[in-house]
């Protein structure tokens, strides 16, 4: 660990801090339908969309109607994507002829299970990739089928978060907003301008952006190499800002055409956390007390810092075997890392991408030391609430805040209240459902994979690492993260279907309790705070919230983790690698 490394981590958090308040206030204005700077440009476009779609954006929806709109919208998107992927061979913008007879050697076939997995993966904001983009997908598939979801799945996540915040902010209300209004405004006023700016910055740094076929070039040693290219920069921006993470190329953000310089790397990481952090700011602004948003921000930051420190320390310490044999002395574990990013930025990226449900990677997670893999696993198993996915992070953390207030709030001698709303049986039920769904999905599906001979033998590494890879896959899918510990032959019918299910469960079965909670809270009366009210803006609350997340969410997985990374760590020190 170096001073420069820590300085980069500090700079990252400082920039994030500075962006939170202004962007948060802007988001609050956008979702309140108030006038803003971009109205003049985007207003007509917005109204045109409503007119074409026949939507009245001012009709308020009950939670059920809101949820149905969300589900219908996602289902239709998923089906269309499935069809498009299966038909890519007959469609244009396929210069390499994927899914046709002229496909290059070694190209992956778009089978029904892979198409299902991919469609679900992008519709759920997961971007788990059981395929390599440059060897499987046509440009049309990348740009239309997948990039479309990168936009709208992020917008839908924001919509659910906004609906839940409205639940806290409204008093005695039956409705929680209009899904179409939230979806369109999130896309137009939030994602679009940010992506335009970010894409241009990326192009300036050397990220590819073209529609040409892959050129074949002669290498210095006389060999011939095909260079994969495509409309990368435009996809890259939304991949980060929407916490999607699905790379244009298989190497994802380690690929120089996706992420060429330390600057783009830093900006990429910032853009992953930008909207989740700003949504905390928006939450504070919408409930009329910005400190409430900062408390969530602080809880996320504390857990995030512990994660970064762990990865950074474990990776710079490296493997004792490598140290003993004098491999890359003084550099720590550089396997699977890009020299241009170094230890600190790689540790930061690994933590950022798994804390937020992004899943893009700039370093190979499979090459991480065992303790370092513990961090991505815990990040995903705590339901992606450490800043978290766009929208998903806020509604997840709010649900944990509700649980925290309920568990500890009784200690001040009152029925627990959060933001003036009494937390009663129905709220606890919905919050527990949220926690239960993700635990059940990860634990049960991993158990299934471990028990079945096929899936468990499809793991390349043995012992605790092999187990960790399966646990990681289902944690990633359920957390809608999308990163992988690799090592699994993932493009098999079992994994395609099982992980697809995990993604669906982790997305929609967790959004539904959040929306139901929104409705239940919106209907409640508001109790004004007094000296007897449980304070939710203090350092103590932040510590409590972290404690509840660690004990309720993380410790559930402690037995499983001890059979994975923790055991592997011990064995590594005993001289055994996997």
């Amino acid at each position: 660990m170096t001073l420069l490394g820590w300085a980069q981590i500090a700079l990252f958090l400082a920039l994030l801090y500075l962006a939170t308040r202004p962007l948060g206030r802007y988001l609050a204005r956008v979702f309140a339908g108030e006038r803003n700077a971009l109205d003049r440009v985007l207003g007509p476009l917005e109204r045109l969309i409503y007119r074409l779609a026949g939507i009245d954006p001012h009709v308020e929806m009950h939670p059920t109607a809101y949820a149905l709109a969300l589900l219908a919208f996602s289902l239709v998107g998923t089906l269309l994507t499935y069809v498009l992927l299966r038909c890519q061979g007959w469609l244009p913008l396929n210069p390499m002829g994927f899914s046709t007879a002229t496909a290059p050697r070694g190209a992956t076939a778009m089978t029904p299970d892979l198409a299902f997995n991919t469609a679900v993966s992008f519709a759920t904001n997961t971007n788990w990739q059981a395929y390599g983009g440059e060897s499987t997908l046509s440009y049309l598939s990348q740009m239309l089928a997948l990039a479309y979801h990168n936009w709208v799945s992020a917008a839908a996540g924001m919509a659910v978060a906004v609906a839940l915040v409205r639940g806290f902010a409204r008093r005695g209300a039956a409705t929680i907003g209009n899904f179409w209004f939230d979806l369109v405004r999130a896309t137009l006023y939030v994602l679009l301008p940010l992506c335009v700016v970010f894409s241009l910055v990326l192009v300036s740094q050397g990220v590819a952006q073209n529609l040409a076929p892959y050129p074949t070039v002669s290498t210095l040693d006389g060999g011939r190499q095909t260079i994969a290219m495509g409309p990368v920069a435009s996809q890259e921006a939304i991949k980060m800002l929407g916490t999607n993470g699905g790379g244009f190329f298989n190497a994802n953000s380690a690929h120089p055409f996706e992420n060429p310089t330390p600057l783009t790397n830093m900006l990429s990481m910032l853009s992953i956390f930008l909207l989740p952090a700003a949504l905390f700011g928006m939450f504070g602004a919408m409930v009329g007390d910005e400190r409430q948003g900062w408390a969530l921000w602080a809880a996320s930051a504390v857990m995030f810092l512990v994660g970064v420190t762990t990865v950074y320390a474990a990776e710079t310490a490296g493997s004792p075997l490598a140290v003993r044999h004098g491999v890359a002395a003084g550099q720590g574990n550089m396997e699977g890392k890009e020299q241009r990013f170094g230890q600190a930025q790689s540790a930061l990226f690994t933590t950022v991408t798994t804390a937020a449900s992004c899943g893009a990677v700039c370093a190979m997670h499979d090459s991480l030391t065992p303790l370092a893999t513990l961090v991505p696993l815990v990040n995903m198993q705590t339901d992606e609430v450490i800043f978290g996915g766009v929208g998903a992070g806020l509604y997840g953390l709010l649900i944990y805040a509700v649980l925290t207030v309920f568990i500890a709030g009784l200690m001040v001698g009152r029925t627990p209240e959060y933001l003036g709303k009494r937390i009663e049986a129905r709220e606890v039920k919905l919050a527990m459902l949220f926690v239960l769904v993700s635990s059940a999905s990860i634990l049960c599906l991993t158990a299934l994979a471990v028990s079945l001979p096929g899936p468990s033998s499809g793991v390349l590494n043995g012992g605790p690492r092999g187990f960790g890879e399966m646990l990681y896959a289902f944690s990633s899918a359920t957390g809608n993260n999308g990163s992988a510990l690799a090592g699994i032959t993932a493009n098999t019918p079992f994994y395609n279907v099982a992980l697809g299910l995990a993604m669906l469960v982790g997305r929609f079965l967790m959004m539904l309790p959040a929306l139901a909670l929104a409705g239940s809270l919106a209907a409640k009366k508001y109790t004004p705070p007094s000296a007897g009210t449980f304070p939710t803006t203090t350092g103590l609350f932040v510590a409590l919230l972290v404690g509840v997340i660690v004990i309720v969410a993380a410790l559930t997985f402690f037995p499983a983790l001890s059979l994975g990374p923790i055991l592997e760590h011990g064995l590594m020190h005993a001289g055994r690698l996997f």
């Binding site: 649980l403 309920f406 568990i407 500890a408 709030g409 009784l410 200690m411 001040v412 001698g413 009152r414 029925t415 003036g420 937390i423 009663e424 049986a425 709220e427 606890v428 039920k429 527990m432 926690v435 239960l436 635990s439 634990l443 049960c444 991993t446 158990a447 471990v450 028990s451 468990s456 043995g462 012992g463 605790p464 187990f467 009366k525 508001y526 109790t527 004004p528 007094s530 000296a531 007897g532 009210t533 304070p535 103590l540 409590l544 404690g547 004990i551 309720v552 410790l555 559930t556 402690f558 037995p559 499983a560 001890s562 059979l563 923790i566 055991l567 760590h569 011990g570 064995l571 005993a574």
Partner: protein, 702 residues
């Protein structure tokens, strides 16, 4: 607090022998599956216990090694103890009320009643045959057969059976003292009573049901907490069940030890699920109601006690609650041309036969002017009693007629006598009112107006501190008084309440409650009269005075048997303490899990990848407590988990220490004790039990 405590009944100590014996028996009876199913956490423990019992029998019969049987036997035993300890906690909480319920039930069954026949005359029937609307007659020495309203007569009644207070009280028809309670005894005179409750619905019946916890319904907060606990139980159940395939995979890959057996997994599950709070939850609720009863307040439901903790606004009647019931004379203010001694003399004369506390205080004050009590008979004095019409009292002393009374009344009298009202008299009376006092004007028929007696409302000692504490807890106090706004404001300022409602009518009171509730605040109040009933019913916590009317008692959700309105504050504190105890033990229970993982996980997986010589694999390093062996570690965790329930029974029954302070301070303090304490305490606890097990040879060496 001490004032009301002194009147409350003295209860037996928490843990006297017969009560423990009785609770132990009940703990066994509560093993009935139907009763266990009410508590999801304990139900899971019971199912686990049955499972391990079956496996133990299989292994014992199947001839597994003595070592296996010894281990599984102990696990099974302590799992059953976990269930029994939880049952015992509940039984102990109920036990405190049961003895009392029994004696109540006995009195009720032996009563008979003389019921009036429609055509006149009386018939003797059993008390249980009485129905609503029946009219009975009770003579001195008889027990009142059921709840009712006195419709004729005045009597002294001993209500010790209900209130524990042996001093008799007056019950009379009409007015606010008409309610009588079944099971109490008429000491003198007689009463005609209209029965107001059918058998099974009376006050005593409700009290029996309540203290026994027979028809105890879960309170809203208890239901929510149960959902949380059930949810956590399911999460940990999944974590434990899936651990079997995980460890099979690990053992297959690494070897070095066998996968964990089912009893071990059950032990892990029971340690992880929140058994501490799960086992004590209902005991905490019952004990909360019991604590209210120890203050001689009868709550009609646990919900009411819980609601008391949530109260934001207290409506307190001025008289009797904030101020002493009676006002005292503190100053004589003569009009110009009259000296104080003259005024004092007249005031004393007019009050000599006045037996009201105010009157007596005037005589006492007058003594300070060197006036002795005089022999009245020698002067042929004739006293004029106070009436609602004249609103004056006084004395006719030979030719001299002295009057004292409310300012308006004395003015009218002066005018009738054809005398003028001095300007400074009015000013003086107004100035007394402005500082919260009551002016009494004194005049006689010879020299006209003499001056004003300043009667002062005496604010009870310590009330200001009490209100400061309440404010720190976030509770606003509003004083309710019939006084005019000027007087009310002055007393409100002196007592330190947050707000006041002057010239209060039942309608104004009702409006105030509605307004507070519309603002999202919960309201508590006390009341006794029939016209208080709507407000008592509307308030979230309504405490009716036992001296009050039947209507008031039925409208409220608590009855204060001592009829001490100040007790509302204590009821609020008990409600808070109840919720705090739940929160503290929930936090403690969940925080305990950290240490248990560090006991059981190394025991489960410490053998994986073990090198032959060392005997332990890498995960044995998680054994940071240095426990002796896998068996001893698991047993120590299970035993700790069971014993902690017993250890916390006194806390659950007594409630956590409560001091009024702001929520932020309370949280910091409780979090330190029960949160941090909950994380740390099990480490030494489990370690100690592990040592003991080794010492007693209950955990065989490897």
């Amino acid at each position: 607090m001490s004032a009301s405590r002194s009147t409350s009944r003295r209860r037996a100590a928490n843990f006297d022998a017969p009560m423990v014996r009785r609770a132990a028996g009940d703990a066994l009876r509560k093993l009935h599956p139907r009763l266990l199913a009410r508590n999801p956490v304990m139900f899971v423990v019971a199912v686990g216990s049955v499972l391990t019992t079956g496996l133990l029998l299989r292994d014992a019969i199947g001839g597994a090694g003595a070592r296996v049987v010894l281990f599984e036997g102990q696990v099974t035993l302590w799992l059953w103890f976990t269930v029994l300890f939880a049952n015992f906690a509940e039984a102990m909480a109920e036990g405190r009320g049961k003895a009392q319920a029994d004696s109540l039930r006995r009195t009720r069954q032996e009563t008979s009643a003389r019921r009036e026949l429609p055509g006149g005359g009386l018939e003797t029937v059993s008390a249980t045959a009485l129905r609503k609307g029946d009219i009975v007659r009770i003579e001195a020495g008889e027990m009142i057969p059921g709840d009712g309203d006195a419709i004729e007569g005045v009597a002294t009644v001993n209500e010790a059976a209900i209130t524990g207070e042996s001093a008799p009280v007056i019950r009379e028809s009409g007015g606010d003292r008409s309610a009588v309670t079944g099971g109490t005894t008429v000491l003198s005179d007689w009463l005609r009573i209209r029965i107001t409750a059918n058998p099974g619905e009376t006050f005593v019946d409700r009290m029996i049901a309540l203290v026994e916890g027979a028809e105890r319904q879960k309170t809203p907060n208890e239901i929510a907490l149960n959902i949380l606990l059930a949810g956590l139980t399911i999460v940990f159940l999944l974590a434990t069940v899936t651990l079997l395939p995980y460890s099979l995979y690990a053992v297959q890959a690494g070897g070095g030890s066998a996968p964990p057996t089912v009893p071990i997994l059950v032990a892990l599950l029971v340690c992880l699920i929140p058994t501490t709070i799960g086992g004590l939850l209902s005991a905490i609720g019952i004990a909360g109601i019991d604590r209210v009863m120890q203050h001689n307040v009868l709550a009609t439901s646990g919900r009411a006690v819980e609601a008391a903790g949530d109260v934001d606004t207290l409506l307190l009647d001025k008289t009797g609650t904030i101020t002493l019931g009676n006002r005292q004379a503190v100053e004589f203010r003569p009009v110009a041309g009259v000296d104080e001694a003259t005024l004092a003399d007249a005031a004393q004369l007019s009050s000599l036969a006045d037996e009201t506390p105010e009157g007596r205080s005037i005589v006492v004050l007058a003594k300070e002017y060197g006036l002795r009590e005089r022999e009245l008979a020698s002067h042929e004095a004739r006293f004029v009693e106070f009436t609602a019409q004249t609103r004056m009292s006084g004395v006719d002393w030979g030719q001299r007629r002295i009057r004292k009374g409310a300012a308006e009344a004395v003015y009218r009298w002066l005018r009738e006598q054809g005398m003028a009202i001095p300007h400074d008299l009015e000013a003086s009376a107004t100035s007394v009112a402005q500082v919260g006092g009551t002016p009494l004007v004194v005049a006689d028929n010879t020299s006209g107006a003499l001056g004003v007696i300043y009667l002062k409302d005496i604010v009870k000692g310590g009330m200001r501190e009490r209100f400061d504490q309440l404010r720190a807890m976030g509770i606003r106090t509003i004083m309710i008084t019939g006084d005019n706004p000027l007087t009310a404001a002055a007393i409100a300022g002196e007592a330190g309440v947050d707000d006041f409602l002057a010239e209060a009518t039942p309608e104004a009171k009702m409006q105030l409650i509605r307004r507070e509730q519309a603002g999202g605040r919960m309201v508590a109040m006390t009341g006794d009269g029939t016209n208080d009933a709507p407000a008592l019913a509307a308030a979230d916590v309504g405490v009716a005075m036992n001296t009050g009317t039947q209507a008031a008692k039925e409208a409220g959700n608590m009855v204060d048997l001592d009829s001490n309105p100040t007790k509302l504050i204590e009821v609020v504190e008990i409600g808070k303490q109840l919720l705090m105890t739940r929160g503290a033990l929930t936090t403690f229970s969940i925080a305990n899990d950290v240490a248990k993982y560090f006991a059981i996980l190394p025991a489960l997986f410490g053998g994986l990848y073990a090198l032959a010589r060392a005997g332990h694999g890498p995960l044995w390093a998680l054994n940071i407590m240095g426990l002796h062996s896998p068996e001893s570690a698991i047993l120590a965790a299970v035993i700790f988990n069971a014993l902690i329930i017993v250890a916390l029974i006194p806390l659950a029954l007594r409630g956590v220490t409560y001091r009024p302070m702001a929520a932020a301070q309370l949280l910091r303090r409780n979090l330190l004790v029960y949160g941090l304490g909950g994380v740390l305490a099990p480490f030494p606890g489990i370690w100690l039990i592990d040592r003991l097990l080794v010492l007693l040879h209950l955990a065989p060496n490897a």
